[in-house]
Protein backbone atom coordinates (compact mmCIF):
# COMPACT_ATOMS: atom_id res chain seq x y z
CA UNK A 1 0.00 0.00 0.00
CA UNK A 2 2.77 2.43 0.87
CA UNK A 3 4.51 1.46 -2.32
CA UNK A 4 1.52 2.63 -4.35
CA UNK A 5 1.26 5.83 -2.37
CA UNK A 6 4.97 6.48 -2.80
CA UNK A 7 4.68 5.87 -6.53
CA UNK A 8 1.70 8.26 -6.83
CA UNK A 9 3.56 11.03 -5.06
CA UNK A 10 6.64 10.47 -7.18
CA UNK A 11 4.57 10.58 -10.37
CA UNK A 12 3.02 13.83 -9.28
CA UNK A 13 6.40 15.33 -8.42
CA UNK A 14 7.54 14.40 -11.91
CA UNK A 15 4.54 15.69 -13.83
CA UNK A 16 2.96 18.23 -11.46
CA UNK A 17 -0.08 17.64 -13.56
CA UNK A 18 -2.74 16.88 -11.02
CA UNK A 19 -2.15 19.55 -8.42
CA UNK A 20 -1.65 22.33 -10.93
CA UNK A 21 -4.68 21.52 -13.07
CA UNK A 22 -6.83 21.01 -9.99
CA UNK A 23 -5.73 24.29 -8.56
CA UNK A 24 -6.42 26.33 -11.70
CA UNK A 25 -9.75 24.65 -12.23
CA UNK A 26 -10.94 25.29 -8.68
CA UNK A 27 -9.92 28.88 -8.99
CA UNK A 28 -11.77 29.27 -12.29
CA UNK A 29 -14.96 27.85 -10.85
CA UNK A 30 -14.78 30.33 -8.01
CA UNK A 31 -14.15 33.13 -10.46
CA UNK A 32 -17.28 32.26 -12.43
CA UNK A 33 -19.34 32.55 -9.27
CA UNK A 34 -17.70 35.80 -8.28
CA UNK A 35 -18.69 37.28 -11.62
CA UNK A 36 -22.23 35.95 -11.38
CA UNK A 37 -23.02 37.24 -7.90
CA UNK A 38 -23.16 40.70 -6.40
CA UNK A 39 -20.61 41.70 -3.74
CA UNK A 40 -23.34 41.69 -1.07
CA UNK A 41 -24.29 38.15 -1.94
CA UNK A 42 -20.67 37.09 -1.91
CA UNK A 43 -20.24 38.27 1.66
CA UNK A 44 -22.90 35.87 2.89
CA UNK A 45 -21.39 32.85 4.63
CA UNK A 46 -23.87 30.52 2.94
CA UNK A 47 -22.56 31.52 -0.47
CA UNK A 48 -18.96 31.21 0.58
CA UNK A 49 -19.54 27.73 1.88
CA UNK A 50 -21.48 26.63 -1.22
CA UNK A 51 -18.77 28.04 -3.43
CA UNK A 52 -15.97 26.27 -1.64
CA UNK A 53 -17.70 22.95 -1.97
CA UNK A 54 -18.83 23.38 -5.56
CA UNK A 55 -15.26 24.18 -6.54
CA UNK A 56 -13.92 21.26 -4.54
CA UNK A 57 -16.40 18.73 -5.86
CA UNK A 58 -16.03 19.62 -9.52
CA UNK A 59 -12.28 20.11 -9.55
CA UNK A 60 -11.85 17.07 -7.33
CA UNK A 61 -13.90 14.90 -9.64
CA UNK A 62 -11.66 15.68 -12.56
CA UNK A 63 -8.57 15.20 -10.41
CA UNK A 64 -9.64 11.77 -9.24
CA UNK A 65 -10.43 10.72 -12.77
CA UNK A 66 -7.11 12.07 -14.00
CA UNK A 67 -5.28 9.92 -11.47
CA UNK A 68 -6.86 6.78 -12.82
CA UNK A 69 -6.40 7.77 -16.44
CA UNK A 70 -2.69 8.19 -15.73
CA UNK A 71 -2.74 4.71 -14.33
CA UNK A 72 -4.33 3.40 -17.51
CA UNK A 73 -1.79 4.78 -19.97
CA UNK A 74 0.30 1.63 -20.39
CA UNK A 75 -2.33 -0.43 -18.64
CA UNK A 76 -0.39 0.06 -15.46
CA UNK A 77 -3.50 -0.67 -13.46
CA UNK A 78 -3.27 -4.24 -14.72
CA UNK A 79 0.32 -4.31 -13.53
CA UNK A 80 -0.90 -3.13 -10.16
CA UNK A 81 -3.48 -5.90 -10.03
CA UNK A 82 -0.81 -8.47 -10.82
CA UNK A 83 1.03 -7.49 -7.68
CA UNK A 84 0.31 -9.45 -4.54
CA UNK A 85 -1.64 -6.61 -3.00
CA UNK A 86 -5.10 -6.95 -1.53
CA UNK A 87 -7.74 -4.88 -3.43
CA UNK A 88 -8.71 -3.23 -0.15
CA UNK A 89 -5.16 -1.95 0.14
CA UNK A 90 -5.21 -0.71 -3.44
CA UNK A 91 -8.36 1.19 -2.50
CA UNK A 92 -6.75 2.76 0.55
CA UNK A 93 -3.65 3.75 -1.39
CA UNK A 94 -5.65 5.41 -4.14
CA UNK A 95 -8.00 6.96 -1.62
CA UNK A 96 -5.17 8.38 0.48
CA UNK A 97 -3.39 9.78 -2.53
CA UNK A 98 -6.60 11.50 -3.61
CA UNK A 99 -7.09 12.88 -0.11
CA UNK A 100 -3.54 14.12 -0.10
CA UNK A 101 -3.73 15.94 -3.42
CA UNK A 102 -7.10 17.50 -2.69
CA UNK A 103 -5.85 18.67 0.68
CA UNK A 104 -2.82 20.26 -0.90
CA UNK A 105 -4.99 22.07 -3.42
CA UNK A 106 -7.54 23.14 -0.82
CA UNK A 107 -4.81 24.44 1.44
CA UNK A 108 -4.26 27.15 -1.14
CA UNK A 109 -7.68 27.48 -2.70
CA UNK A 110 -9.69 27.78 0.51
CA UNK A 111 -7.85 30.78 2.01
CA UNK A 112 -7.71 32.36 -1.41
CA UNK A 113 -11.47 32.00 -1.79
CA UNK A 114 -12.16 33.52 1.59
CA UNK A 115 -9.91 36.42 0.70
CA UNK A 116 -11.51 36.89 -2.70
CA UNK A 117 -14.97 36.91 -1.16
CA UNK A 118 -13.86 39.36 1.50
CA UNK A 119 -15.19 37.26 4.34
CA UNK A 120 -14.18 38.59 7.74
CA UNK A 121 -11.64 36.61 9.67
CA UNK A 122 -12.82 35.02 12.87
CA UNK A 123 -11.50 32.54 15.37
CA UNK A 124 -13.92 29.85 14.24
CA UNK A 125 -12.15 29.79 10.87
CA UNK A 126 -9.46 27.75 12.59
CA UNK A 127 -11.89 24.84 12.37
CA UNK A 128 -12.11 25.14 8.61
CA UNK A 129 -9.17 22.84 7.79
CA UNK A 130 -10.73 20.08 9.83
CA UNK A 131 -14.12 20.48 8.14
CA UNK A 132 -12.57 20.60 4.70
CA UNK A 133 -10.57 17.48 5.46
CA UNK A 134 -13.71 15.68 6.59
CA UNK A 135 -15.43 16.60 3.35
CA UNK A 136 -12.42 15.56 1.29
CA UNK A 137 -12.24 12.19 3.02
CA UNK A 138 -15.85 11.28 2.22
CA UNK A 139 -15.62 12.68 -1.26
CA UNK A 140 -12.40 10.83 -2.06
CA UNK A 141 -13.75 7.55 -0.73
CA UNK A 142 -16.81 7.52 -2.99
CA UNK A 143 -14.89 9.26 -5.76
CA UNK A 144 -12.17 6.60 -5.84
CA UNK A 145 -14.78 3.87 -6.07
CA UNK A 146 -16.87 5.56 -8.76
CA UNK A 147 -13.85 6.62 -10.81
CA UNK A 148 -12.57 3.05 -10.84
CA UNK A 149 -15.90 2.11 -12.41
CA UNK A 150 -16.13 5.07 -14.76
CA UNK A 151 -12.59 4.91 -16.06
CA UNK A 152 -13.15 1.59 -17.75
CA UNK A 153 -16.35 2.52 -19.53
CA UNK A 154 -16.96 4.51 -22.64
CA UNK A 155 -18.00 8.12 -21.99
CA UNK A 156 -16.24 8.10 -18.64
CA UNK A 157 -16.32 11.90 -18.41
CA UNK A 158 -20.11 11.76 -18.21
CA UNK A 159 -20.49 8.59 -16.20
CA UNK A 160 -18.39 9.71 -13.25
CA UNK A 161 -20.43 12.80 -12.28
CA UNK A 162 -23.67 10.95 -13.04
CA UNK A 163 -22.79 8.28 -10.53
CA UNK A 164 -20.90 10.27 -7.99
CA UNK A 165 -22.98 13.42 -7.53
CA UNK A 166 -26.28 11.83 -6.45
CA UNK A 167 -24.45 9.53 -4.05
CA UNK A 168 -22.61 12.50 -2.63
CA UNK A 169 -25.79 14.45 -1.85
CA UNK A 170 -25.87 13.64 1.88
CA UNK A 171 -22.21 14.45 2.35
CA UNK A 172 -22.55 17.62 0.36
CA UNK A 173 -25.50 18.86 2.40
CA UNK A 174 -23.73 18.16 5.66
CA UNK A 175 -20.44 19.70 4.57
CA UNK A 176 -22.07 22.87 3.24
CA UNK A 177 -24.02 23.31 6.46
CA UNK A 178 -21.04 22.88 8.74
CA UNK A 179 -18.94 25.21 6.64
CA UNK A 180 -21.75 27.77 6.47
CA UNK A 181 -22.10 27.83 10.23
CA UNK A 182 -18.36 28.04 10.58
CA UNK A 183 -18.03 30.96 8.20
CA UNK A 184 -20.85 32.75 9.94
CA UNK A 185 -18.97 32.36 13.21
CA UNK A 186 -21.68 30.18 14.74
CA UNK A 187 -21.34 26.90 16.60
CA UNK A 188 -20.44 24.33 13.97
CA UNK A 189 -19.56 21.27 15.98
CA UNK A 190 -23.20 20.27 16.42
CA UNK A 191 -25.33 17.58 14.80
CA UNK A 192 -24.23 18.37 11.25
CA UNK A 193 -20.60 17.89 12.07
CA UNK A 194 -21.27 14.54 13.67
CA UNK A 195 -23.36 13.55 10.65
CA UNK A 196 -20.49 14.57 8.39
CA UNK A 197 -18.02 12.40 10.27
CA UNK A 198 -20.46 9.48 10.28
CA UNK A 199 -20.89 9.75 6.49
CA UNK A 200 -17.12 9.76 6.12
CA UNK A 201 -16.82 6.53 8.03
CA UNK A 202 -19.64 4.90 6.08
CA UNK A 203 -18.29 5.94 2.69
CA UNK A 204 -14.77 4.77 3.46
CA UNK A 205 -16.06 1.39 4.61
CA UNK A 206 -18.28 1.05 1.53
CA UNK A 207 -15.38 1.86 -0.76
CA UNK A 208 -13.04 -0.51 0.99
CA UNK A 209 -15.50 -3.40 0.92
CA UNK A 210 -16.71 -3.04 -2.66
CA UNK A 211 -13.49 -2.04 -4.41
CA UNK A 212 -12.49 -5.66 -4.93
CA UNK A 213 -15.55 -6.29 -7.08
CA UNK A 214 -14.76 -3.29 -9.21
CA UNK A 215 -11.11 -3.90 -10.00
CA UNK A 216 -11.11 -7.57 -10.88
CA UNK A 217 -12.26 -8.53 -14.35
Amino acid sequence: MWAILWKDLLLELRTKERVSSLFVLALLIILVFVFALTPEQLKQPAFGSALLWVALVFAGMLGIQRALILEQERNCFTGLLLCPIDPGQVFFAKFLSNVFFLTVVEAVVAPLTLALLGLPFSVSLLGLPLVLLCGIVGFSALGTLCAAIAVRTRAREIILPLMLLPLLVPLFIAAVHVTGALLAGEVWTGTWFRVLVAFDVIFVVIGWLTFGFVVQE
Partner: protein
Protein backbone atom coordinates in the same frame (compact mmCIF):
# COMPACT_ATOMS: atom_id res chain seq x y z
CA UNK B 1 6.85 -6.81 10.84
CA UNK B 2 10.58 -6.35 10.82
CA UNK B 3 12.59 -6.98 7.73
CA UNK B 4 14.45 -9.80 9.32
CA UNK B 5 11.39 -11.82 10.20
CA UNK B 6 10.10 -11.12 6.71
CA UNK B 7 13.25 -12.53 5.24
CA UNK B 8 13.23 -15.61 7.37
CA UNK B 9 9.60 -16.14 6.42
CA UNK B 10 10.46 -15.81 2.79
CA UNK B 11 13.31 -18.23 3.19
CA UNK B 12 10.91 -20.67 4.80
CA UNK B 13 8.46 -20.13 2.00
CA UNK B 14 11.00 -20.91 -0.69
CA UNK B 15 12.05 -23.98 1.21
CA UNK B 16 8.46 -25.08 1.43
CA UNK B 17 7.84 -24.51 -2.25
CA UNK B 18 10.90 -26.52 -3.13
CA UNK B 19 9.52 -29.33 -1.05
CA UNK B 20 6.00 -29.09 -2.33
CA UNK B 21 7.18 -28.79 -5.92
CA UNK B 22 8.14 -32.40 -5.69
CA UNK B 23 4.67 -33.66 -5.03
CA UNK B 24 2.19 -31.02 -6.20
CA UNK B 25 1.49 -29.62 -9.60
CA UNK B 26 2.42 -26.06 -10.37
CA UNK B 27 -0.74 -25.51 -12.32
CA UNK B 28 -3.86 -27.56 -12.00
CA UNK B 29 -6.84 -26.57 -14.08
CA UNK B 30 -10.00 -28.56 -13.81
CA UNK B 31 -13.01 -27.90 -16.05
CA UNK B 32 -12.27 -24.21 -16.38
CA UNK B 33 -14.93 -22.09 -18.02
CA UNK B 34 -14.76 -18.39 -18.71
CA UNK B 35 -17.39 -16.26 -20.37
CA UNK B 36 -17.01 -12.77 -21.62
CA UNK B 37 -20.00 -10.66 -22.60
CA UNK B 38 -21.98 -13.72 -21.58
CA UNK B 39 -20.52 -15.90 -24.29
CA UNK B 40 -18.05 -18.66 -23.59
CA UNK B 41 -14.44 -17.76 -24.36
CA UNK B 42 -12.96 -20.81 -22.71
CA UNK B 43 -14.78 -24.05 -22.03
CA UNK B 44 -13.84 -27.24 -20.33
CA UNK B 45 -10.15 -26.51 -19.94
CA UNK B 46 -8.33 -29.12 -17.89
CA UNK B 47 -4.62 -29.64 -17.68
CA UNK B 48 -1.84 -30.12 -15.19
CA UNK B 49 1.64 -28.75 -15.35
CA UNK B 50 4.56 -29.90 -13.25
CA UNK B 51 7.47 -27.76 -12.27
CA UNK B 52 10.31 -27.15 -14.73
CA UNK B 53 8.01 -27.58 -17.70
CA UNK B 54 7.93 -25.06 -20.51
CA UNK B 55 4.49 -25.13 -22.04
CA UNK B 56 3.62 -23.52 -25.33
CA UNK B 57 -0.02 -22.63 -25.89
CA UNK B 58 -0.79 -22.39 -29.58
CA UNK B 59 -3.89 -21.40 -31.46
CA UNK B 60 -5.29 -18.92 -33.94
CA UNK B 61 -6.38 -15.44 -32.90
CA UNK B 62 -9.43 -15.48 -30.70
CA UNK B 63 -8.85 -19.03 -29.54
CA UNK B 64 -8.69 -17.88 -25.93
CA UNK B 65 -4.91 -18.01 -25.40
CA UNK B 66 -4.65 -14.60 -23.76
CA UNK B 67 -7.74 -15.24 -21.65
CA UNK B 68 -6.22 -18.48 -20.38
CA UNK B 69 -2.99 -16.73 -19.46
CA UNK B 70 -4.85 -13.92 -17.72
CA UNK B 71 -6.81 -16.49 -15.74
CA UNK B 72 -3.54 -18.04 -14.62
CA UNK B 73 -2.24 -14.62 -13.63
CA UNK B 74 -5.40 -14.07 -11.52
CA UNK B 75 -6.28 -11.03 -13.60
CA UNK B 76 -9.50 -12.82 -14.39
CA UNK B 77 -11.55 -15.14 -12.26
CA UNK B 78 -12.92 -18.29 -13.88
CA UNK B 79 -16.68 -18.35 -14.38
CA UNK B 80 -16.64 -21.93 -13.17
CA UNK B 81 -14.18 -24.70 -12.64
CA UNK B 82 -11.20 -25.00 -10.38
CA UNK B 83 -7.80 -23.45 -10.88
CA UNK B 84 -4.99 -23.97 -8.42
CA UNK B 85 -1.42 -22.76 -8.63
CA UNK B 86 1.14 -24.30 -6.31
CA UNK B 87 -1.70 -26.09 -4.61
CA UNK B 88 -3.76 -23.02 -3.64
CA UNK B 89 -6.24 -20.69 -5.30
CA UNK B 90 -4.73 -18.46 -7.96
CA UNK B 91 -6.05 -15.30 -6.30
CA UNK B 92 -4.14 -15.82 -3.07
CA UNK B 93 -1.49 -13.24 -2.43
CA UNK B 94 1.20 -15.79 -1.61
CA UNK B 95 0.53 -17.43 -4.97
CA UNK B 96 0.57 -14.19 -6.89
CA UNK B 97 3.98 -13.43 -5.46
CA UNK B 98 5.31 -16.47 -7.31
CA UNK B 99 3.80 -15.57 -10.67
CA UNK B 100 5.42 -13.33 -13.24
CA UNK B 101 3.44 -12.03 -16.20
CA UNK B 102 4.65 -10.47 -19.42
CA UNK B 103 1.75 -9.10 -21.42
CA UNK B 104 1.28 -7.10 -24.58
CA UNK B 105 1.66 -3.87 -22.68
CA UNK B 106 4.58 -2.95 -20.53
CA UNK B 107 2.69 -1.87 -17.35
CA UNK B 108 5.42 0.71 -16.85
CA UNK B 109 4.75 4.27 -15.76
CA UNK B 110 5.99 6.48 -18.60
CA UNK B 111 6.90 9.35 -16.32
CA UNK B 112 9.02 7.28 -13.99
CA UNK B 113 12.55 6.07 -14.64
CA UNK B 114 13.37 2.36 -14.95
CA UNK B 115 14.78 2.42 -11.46
CA UNK B 116 11.65 3.98 -10.02
CA UNK B 117 9.36 1.66 -11.92
CA UNK B 118 11.24 -1.38 -10.72
CA UNK B 119 11.43 -0.01 -7.19
CA UNK B 120 7.66 0.33 -7.16
CA UNK B 121 7.04 -3.19 -8.41
CA UNK B 122 9.79 -4.56 -6.22
CA UNK B 123 8.23 -3.01 -3.13
CA UNK B 124 4.83 -4.30 -4.12
CA UNK B 125 6.27 -7.80 -4.41
CA UNK B 126 8.41 -7.33 -1.29
CA UNK B 127 11.58 -8.30 -3.14
CA UNK B 128 14.48 -8.75 -0.70
CA UNK B 129 17.65 -6.72 -1.33
CA UNK B 130 15.74 -4.64 -3.85
CA UNK B 131 18.54 -2.30 -4.89
CA UNK B 132 20.92 -5.08 -5.79
CA UNK B 133 18.22 -7.01 -7.55
CA UNK B 134 17.22 -4.01 -9.63
CA UNK B 135 20.81 -3.31 -10.67
CA UNK B 136 21.21 -6.94 -11.61
CA UNK B 137 17.99 -6.98 -13.65
CA UNK B 138 18.80 -3.74 -15.45
CA UNK B 139 22.17 -5.12 -16.38
CA UNK B 140 20.56 -8.33 -17.53
CA UNK B 141 18.36 -6.45 -20.02
CA UNK B 142 21.15 -4.05 -20.95
CA UNK B 143 19.54 -0.91 -19.57
CA UNK B 144 21.93 -0.06 -16.75
CA UNK B 145 22.99 3.13 -18.52
CA UNK B 146 19.41 4.31 -18.92
CA UNK B 147 18.27 3.86 -15.39
CA UNK B 148 17.55 7.53 -14.74
CA UNK B 149 15.73 8.37 -17.97
CA UNK B 150 11.91 8.44 -17.86
CA UNK B 151 10.45 5.49 -19.69
CA UNK B 152 8.46 7.82 -21.94
CA UNK B 153 11.58 8.51 -24.00
CA UNK B 154 12.39 4.84 -24.48
CA UNK B 155 12.18 3.08 -27.81
CA UNK B 156 9.70 0.25 -28.06
CA UNK B 157 12.42 -2.35 -27.79
CA UNK B 158 13.88 -0.77 -24.68
CA UNK B 159 10.50 -0.60 -23.05
CA UNK B 160 9.91 -4.26 -23.78
CA UNK B 161 13.23 -5.20 -22.27
CA UNK B 162 12.42 -3.23 -19.18
CA UNK B 163 9.04 -4.90 -19.08
CA UNK B 164 10.84 -8.23 -19.09
CA UNK B 165 12.96 -7.05 -16.17
CA UNK B 166 9.76 -6.03 -14.40
CA UNK B 167 8.15 -9.43 -14.90
CA UNK B 168 11.23 -11.30 -13.67
CA UNK B 169 12.12 -8.91 -10.86
CA UNK B 170 10.64 -11.04 -8.10
CA UNK B 171 12.15 -14.26 -9.51
CA UNK B 172 8.80 -15.91 -10.19
CA UNK B 173 8.42 -19.66 -10.00
CA UNK B 174 5.78 -19.56 -12.70
CA UNK B 175 6.46 -17.26 -15.61
CA UNK B 176 3.62 -16.43 -17.99
CA UNK B 177 4.33 -14.81 -21.35
CA UNK B 178 1.68 -13.61 -23.73
CA UNK B 179 2.88 -13.70 -27.34
CA UNK B 180 6.51 -12.98 -26.47
CA UNK B 181 7.61 -13.34 -30.08
CA UNK B 182 5.38 -10.71 -31.60
CA UNK B 183 6.75 -7.22 -31.84
CA UNK B 184 9.97 -7.86 -29.97
CA UNK B 185 13.16 -6.58 -31.52
CA UNK B 186 16.04 -9.07 -32.04
CA UNK B 187 17.90 -7.92 -28.98
CA UNK B 188 14.86 -8.35 -26.77
CA UNK B 189 14.28 -11.78 -28.26
CA UNK B 190 17.81 -12.93 -27.48
CA UNK B 191 17.55 -11.61 -23.93
CA UNK B 192 14.18 -13.32 -23.56
CA UNK B 193 15.55 -16.61 -24.80
CA UNK B 194 18.47 -16.34 -22.41
CA UNK B 195 16.04 -15.69 -19.54
CA UNK B 196 13.91 -18.63 -20.52
CA UNK B 197 16.91 -20.92 -20.76
CA UNK B 198 17.98 -19.74 -17.34
CA UNK B 199 14.49 -20.32 -15.98
CA UNK B 200 14.56 -23.83 -17.39
CA UNK B 201 17.86 -24.50 -15.63
CA UNK B 202 16.47 -23.29 -12.33
CA UNK B 203 13.51 -25.63 -12.68
CA UNK B 204 11.04 -22.76 -13.02
CA UNK B 205 7.83 -23.31 -14.87
CA UNK B 206 7.07 -21.30 -17.99
CA UNK B 207 3.87 -20.94 -19.98
CA UNK B 208 3.80 -18.93 -23.15
CA UNK B 209 1.32 -18.31 -25.91
CA UNK B 210 2.36 -18.12 -29.50
CA UNK B 211 1.17 -18.74 -32.99
CA UNK B 212 4.64 -19.36 -34.28
CA UNK B 213 5.51 -22.95 -33.54
CA UNK B 214 8.82 -23.05 -35.37
CA UNK B 215 10.40 -20.31 -33.34
CA UNK B 216 8.99 -21.45 -30.04
CA UNK B 217 9.47 -25.18 -30.42
CA UNK B 218 13.03 -25.42 -29.15
CA UNK B 219 12.00 -23.73 -25.92
CA UNK B 220 9.00 -25.89 -25.13
CA UNK B 221 8.85 -29.20 -23.39
CA UNK B 222 5.15 -29.47 -23.94
CA UNK B 223 2.54 -27.92 -26.18
CA UNK B 224 -1.20 -27.56 -26.33
CA UNK B 225 -3.44 -26.23 -29.04
CA UNK B 226 -6.45 -24.13 -28.24
CA UNK B 227 -9.24 -23.74 -30.71
CA UNK B 228 -12.52 -21.91 -30.13
CA UNK B 229 -11.93 -21.89 -26.40
CA UNK B 230 -11.28 -25.60 -26.05
CA UNK B 231 -8.13 -27.66 -25.80
CA UNK B 232 -7.98 -29.28 -29.21
CA UNK B 233 -4.78 -31.22 -28.61
CA UNK B 234 -2.19 -31.79 -25.89
CA UNK B 235 1.28 -33.16 -26.47
CA UNK B 236 2.37 -36.45 -24.97
CA UNK B 237 5.76 -37.02 -23.41
CA UNK B 238 7.63 -35.88 -26.50
CA UNK B 239 6.90 -33.03 -28.81
CA UNK B 240 6.10 -33.80 -32.44
CA UNK B 241 8.42 -32.65 -35.18
CA UNK B 242 7.66 -29.27 -36.77
CA UNK B 243 6.07 -30.86 -39.85
CA UNK B 244 3.90 -33.14 -37.77
CA UNK B 245 2.93 -30.25 -35.61
CA UNK B 246 1.89 -28.09 -38.55
CA UNK B 247 -0.29 -30.92 -39.79
CA UNK B 248 -1.81 -31.36 -36.34
CA UNK B 249 -2.36 -27.66 -36.02
CA UNK B 250 -4.21 -27.35 -39.31
CA UNK B 251 -6.26 -30.42 -38.48
CA UNK B 252 -7.19 -29.05 -35.06
CA UNK B 253 -8.03 -25.53 -36.05
CA UNK B 254 -9.96 -26.20 -39.19
Amino acid sequence: MTQQTQRTQQAQQTQETQQTKMNTWVVEAHNLHKTFAWTPVLSDISFRIASAEVVGIFGPNGAGKTTLLRLLAALLTPTSGRLTLFGSASSELAVRRKVGFLGHESYLYPDLTPEENLTFYGKAYRVPDLKGRIAQQLEHVGLQDWRTMPVRYFSRGMEQRLSLARALLHAPDLFLLDEPDTGLDPRAVSILHASLAEAKEQAKTVMLTSHDFERTRELCTRALILHRGRIAWQSEATLPSPQEFVELYTACTR
